[in-house]
Every structure is written in C-alpha cells, then in structure tokens.
C-alpha cells in the first residue's frame, strides 16, 4: 500500500503549506488540496461513499472559506507571534505525538480490523434491510437515530449561520 503513504505525505506537505503561508487565499486553497488528497485516500481505502461525500463537502467548504477571505482588504498579513507561543505549542504537540505513539501499540495492526459489529452488519444487511450498500443500510437502518442526531446538528448550525449572517437586525 505504498500509494497510501505517498498521498498522505502529499497531504502533510499541503497542510504545512496551509499553515505557514502568509496569503490567506493561498492557505485556503492549500486546505482544499489536502481535502482532495483525503478523497483519494478514501478511494484507495475502499470507501466510495465517503469519497463522494468528501468531494462535495470539500468543494463547498473551499467556496465558503474563499467567500470569507476574498472581500478582505488585507490579503497578506504576516501576524507576528511571540516566542513563548512557539515553545508552548511545540511542547504540547510533542507531548501529544509521544503519547499517541505509545497508544499505537495497543491498536490492531493495519489491515486486520477487529470487526465485532461490522461482521454482523455485513452478514445481516441483505436479509434485514434489503440494501445492497451496507454503509447506507447502517446509517439509515441500523443506526438511524445517529443519523437523526446528525441532521439535528446540521440544521442547528444552519439556523446559527442564518442568525449570525441575517442583515435585518433591529438595531442597525
């Protein structure tokens, strides 16, 4: 699976570019590159539904972020950061990496998942739900309450966006 590594290294390079570049529009576009790399990874990992969803969501989020940056007068604003920030952030990130590296030893090896629930879903999906796509049978039938909660969060965030961006305020 060398192609997974190659795409993931490209994603890391894109993420570093998005972090360090001064131009905000370039940063947003680099984030879009990382998202499209994630789409490729999903395709390689045999998750076509996720690849389709990630493609659509990535296009939408890049459009939203460009809307936020394109009207701003300051295109390039190098914002200086204090040295203490760098030190604390580097310490925190290093501690995170060290702890997560230790935790990796507890995980099953790559390519051999445990699949306690997944095996049962695969066995029973065709008989119980009649859906050919097991992912959609899980989100729409076995775990439909989870999807209901997701729709609730999505519509709540839409209401929040409308409440924040609405122009007709009383005090204006």
């Amino acid at each position: 699976m060398i192609e997974l590594h190659i795409v993931l290294v490209l994603m890391i390079i894109g993420a570093v570019v998005a972090t360090e570049i001064n131009d905000l529009l370039s940063s947003v576009i680099a984030l879009g590159a990382v998202g499209f790399g994630l789409t490729l990874e999903f395709l390689l990992l045999r998750a076509p539904d996720l690849a389709i969803t990630q493609l659509v969501v990535e296009i939408l989020s890049v459009i939203i972020l460009i809307r936020a940056t394109i009207g701003t007068k300051i295109c390039c604003d190098p914002i200086k950061t204090r040295a203490a920030y760098f030190v604390f952030a580097a310490l925190f990130t290093g501690a995170f990496l060290a702890f997560s590296y230790r935790a990796l030893a507890q995980l099953p090896a790559f390519g051999s998942p445990i699949m306690k629930m997944g095996a049962q879903y695969i066995q029973e999906a065709a008989a119980k739900t009649g859906a050919a796509n097991i992912v959609s049978s899980v989100i729409l039938d076995f775990r439909a309450y989870d999807t209901l909660g997701e729709a609730t969060i999505l519509f709540t965030s839409v209401i929040g966006v409308l409440a924040v961006l609405r122009l007709a305020g009383r005090n204006k």
Binding site: L38, I64, F88, Y121, V161, L165
Partner: protein, 112 residues
C-alpha cells in the same frame, strides 16, 4: 503501522496551526486539518488487506470486506464538519466587519 504515524503527524500539523496562529482564518484551517486527520484515522482502522468495498453484489460471495461501521459514522462526521465550518466562517465574517481585522489579539485590544 507507519501509516498511522503519518496520520498522527497530519493531526499534529493541524494542532500546531490551531495553537500558534493568531489569524482566525488560519485557526479554521487548522481545525479543518485536524478533522481530516481524525476522519482518515477511523477509516484506516477499518481497512482490511485486499478488502472490497462494502457493497453487496448478487452473484458475489461475502469474503473479505472492509469494516462498514467506521465508514457510516465518518459519513455523518464529514457533513457535521461542513456545518460547523460554515458557522465558524459566519462568525468570523461578522467579526471582520466589526473590527476590520482577523487577528484575535487585535480584536481583544479593540474590544477594550
């Protein structure tokens, strides 16, 4: 195992961006990178060598499928990520219209 480490490095880049940068758009970008890394990590956990996509075929026997459960959960997580990002961008746009800057230190100073 090395693919997990690369995924964690991607997460760490996003975490560093979120912690160090003081530009609000950069903070949103960092959160987005972290979200991508977590989504990818879950799908990596469910992958099986020489597995097939979790879609049934009529004349095909179920032999070697990747785990469908993380895929279903991450499918909802991706959509939630879009909603959260839209909300953050909306608040950021309003803050920019009021204070004419993206710098959080500057915003705090202007607020008094």
């Amino acid at each position: 195992m090395s693919i997990y480490i690369l995924c964690l490095i991607l997460f760490a880049v996003g975490l560093y961006c979120l912690l160090v940068k003081r530009n609000l758009i950069k903070k949103i970008v960092g959160l987005g990178i972290m979200e991508y890394a977590v989504n990818l990590f879950f799908i990596l956990l469910g992958y099986r060598h020489n597995g097939q996509a979790p879609i049934l075929d009529k004349e095909q026997a179920i032999v070697n499928m990747v785990d469908p459960l993380p895929q279903a959960l991450i499918l909802t997580s991706i959509v939630i990520g879009l909603g959260v990002m839209a909300l953050m961008v909306a608040i950021t746009v309003r803050l920019y219209e009021k204070y004419r800057t993206f710098d959080i230190g500057e915003i705090r100073r202007l607020k008094g």
